[in-house]
Symmetry: D2
Subunit: 260 residues, 4 copies
Amino acid sequence: MHAAAVGDLVQLFSMRDRKSFLLRIQPDERLETHNGVIQHSDLVGKPFGSTVHSHLGTDFVMLTPSTAEITRTLKRRSQIIFPKDLGLILLKLSIEPDQEVIEAGTGSGALTVALARAVGPAGRVHSYDMRADMQHTAHRNLKLVGLAERVTLKTRDIADGFDETDAPALFLDVPNPWDYLEQAHSALRSGGFFGALLPTTNQVTLLLTGLQRESFGLTEVLEVLLRNYKTVAARFRPSDRMVGHTGYLVFARALQPANT
Amino acid sequence: MHAAAVGDLVQLFSMRDRKSFLLRIQPDERLETHNGVIQHSDLVGKPFGSTVHSHLGTDFVMLTPSTAEITRTLKRRSQIIFPKDLGLILLKLSIEPDQEVIEAGTGSGALTVALARAVGPAGRVHSYDMRADMQHTAHRNLKLVGLAERVTLKTRDIADGFDETDAPALFLDVPNPWDYLEQAHSALRSGGFFGALLPTTNQVTLLLTGLQRESFGLTEVLEVLLRNYKTVAARFRPSDRMVGHTGYLVFARALQPANT
Amino acid sequence: MHAAAVGDLVQLFSMRDRKSFLLRIQPDERLETHNGVIQHSDLVGKPFGSTVHSHLGTDFVMLTPSTAEITRTLKRRSQIIFPKDLGLILLKLSIEPDQEVIEAGTGSGALTVALARAVGPAGRVHSYDMRADMQHTAHRNLKLVGLAERVTLKTRDIADGFDETDAPALFLDVPNPWDYLEQAHSALRSGGFFGALLPTTNQVTLLLTGLQRESFGLTEVLEVLLRNYKTVAARFRPSDRMVGHTGYLVFARALQPANT
Amino acid sequence: MHAAAVGDLVQLFSMRDRKSFLLRIQPDERLETHNGVIQHSDLVGKPFGSTVHSHLGTDFVMLTPSTAEITRTLKRRSQIIFPKDLGLILLKLSIEPDQEVIEAGTGSGALTVALARAVGPAGRVHSYDMRADMQHTAHRNLKLVGLAERVTLKTRDIADGFDETDAPALFLDVPNPWDYLEQAHSALRSGGFFGALLPTTNQVTLLLTGLQRESFGLTEVLEVLLRNYKTVAARFRPSDRMVGHTGYLVFARALQPANT
């Protein structure tokens, strides 16, 4: 049986209002919610997937949090990348265990978490951001979810270039990625995977022009629309509202310049 | 410099017609395409991301294939799961390095490849399928891409149950997943991740009813619409045609039955 | 110049918060909004498309309301049909000036308004609803927008059939349209246009079965996803949120039974 | 009973391959299809919605064609506007019976047909196009479907302006609508409805800038994604492929310049 122990990262999901809480079990702590209090010690020894009750009697299901769930419940100082986009980013960048990959900026760390999980304990994420306060938030998030040791946070202007020179994959979540394409190309191994996320079409056209100039190729621009359905079997239908837009995903490969 | 060597899996991408070829470099072999012949030996020592020419003068870019690219070029005996869905499946099932995960059926092995890449060399995929011919195709695909050692193919009717009892994640790509939910629940660790892909709404409603009966919870039904854009900066616009439907993705968690 | 006169139906659109008000100009009346008061008399003689000011100085643009705008600002007692669906309904039912068409139920009258505008002053809409309170609301809406004379409201259970027998088009906006297909077929001229709007897939499958049984054919099921874009030229992008679902549109033609 | 007569416009829909034919019944003519020949005289007196047979025994359903169907089967010399967009255009431009409306260019006449049907026999469509060959095709299409008398075709460069000065609605289906906004504003009555369809985002941003400069307001940019579903009740699901893009719809109102 897969049971919760002190030190475990767990998600408590309220059956009442579908709110979710992330915590790391510590002997003497307690979780306070508007649906009542839960003592961490009450969770220890309980199998994951079982129901616990707050002191007000509200049911909470205890689970190991998914990567999607973790990124959704992170403390945020900025817009985070949504799960619908994270999945495709990992797949298109072909992230694998044991790789050393690069991202900039760090932001609140949603992509950082997803990358750190995907490269595993023997991999590494090099995450650049100019803003120390952002990286402070990201670091706290990474510590909470137990991934801080897989991530090197670098408080740096990427205009000055990346330290790495042989990265299999690099993702730019910055407003002006076209300004850093030379640096990105130098940081990527030949043939490496490049990705970026941009909210506006104006940005995409600037990036497309830059990618062509800086010897990137096999460029793709993709957009993910995710529909969520209500799960009542007798009245199966999509949800009334959905996310209309997060951003355009741009992927490319670092090619050898034509004259080499 | 990241250069190609004998034994490497490489993708050759024709700049002429955007066709893609997957091959493993072997000293005396050659690739024959309708755009001309390329000797494997001509690739050795060339950096990835560089351009090679067929004997007819057509340009091909040489790359390490992405997971998405691999699944797209697999030999198929059945409908494969599309990259748009694969990315979300890996994320929602929270697949991580070193895990042992389960899928049924094997099909042509597209999800098998994606899972095997995500669990890494120390992980394992247990893949069930009743049809020996399917698994034969999948095995050949897995060997080509160097992932056969991470996968256990089991030619078995899952009505008889799974061998595993503590899997973190299990995915059913079969037409009638509602018939195997008891078996799936037994194979999953408590709190484990369940997923399924179904083309019709009728199937989804049957699965939703089954999931509730068999102590699954936190059920979600999602649908991914992927828009592909043309990459001409001066005329930025979506492609004229798109995939209208592959299937509905159903995700749930294996909960403890209420009375335990 | 196209100027406003007493008796005109006008829309006042607040530039401050993009709220919209519908009114019919009357000599001594005034519009009270949370952005200030506007005297109807101040509108008279002003060209449409010009800006008027409330007593608090807020700018309002005065316009003739579009059909879409009218339906959106109707008093509602029920979910209304959205403009994204109304446009396709009128086109697929091939509504034309001078026709006599049928709908049930009346609801709050959004489709009633759209149909009444499309058939014009020499056409007619026969609108059935069992609930007198609904039809009362719809009637008040129709009077406000000057369309009451084109509409016959019938407070009637359509299980008892329609009075008409040669209608070119009939639309059912009821939860169980499959129960009234025989009545609908009798009300339609041979070859006539049938339409329905249903929120759930379960309902659609029941209707599809019914349509086949009752000699309807050329059946189509369509769904309209409308994306709204932000109109800032330098940052062109879709809106963050969108309507995820209203309903499935089902269209068919009333065929002659095979044995006639 | 609604039966076909000489002179009627009818649609014959092949049940075998779902192909559709448009014809006007004439005493001595015949329709030749790859599924066999049908004599026009065989249709006379048959009720609409009934099935006729070709000399090869293939079933065809005879119907009055819908506006959507007519536009889809027009002879084309250019990309036509799709029904999914036509419905919203008519609704957003608030086209009504008896209006005189303007479009440019004429193209193959799909929007011309939809507008001519919507304004009815007492309305009028003024359709501008520089290319005489286009208008020739459009004229033949309009004659076939019996709408030529409602349409004035003007072979003219709209840079020279429109003849009309009080139009309730004007639609520009040209590649560079921003070049004709002053002319469009002059042709529209104050408060009138403006619309345009543009395939690329680059064009939309140019138009948005132009609209603001030329005293248009309440601007909206919309995009219609239409999903088509398979109509088998037991396997209800969307079609595998769909139209990914036709164009961005831009709507605005002609406002009074601020200083008037």
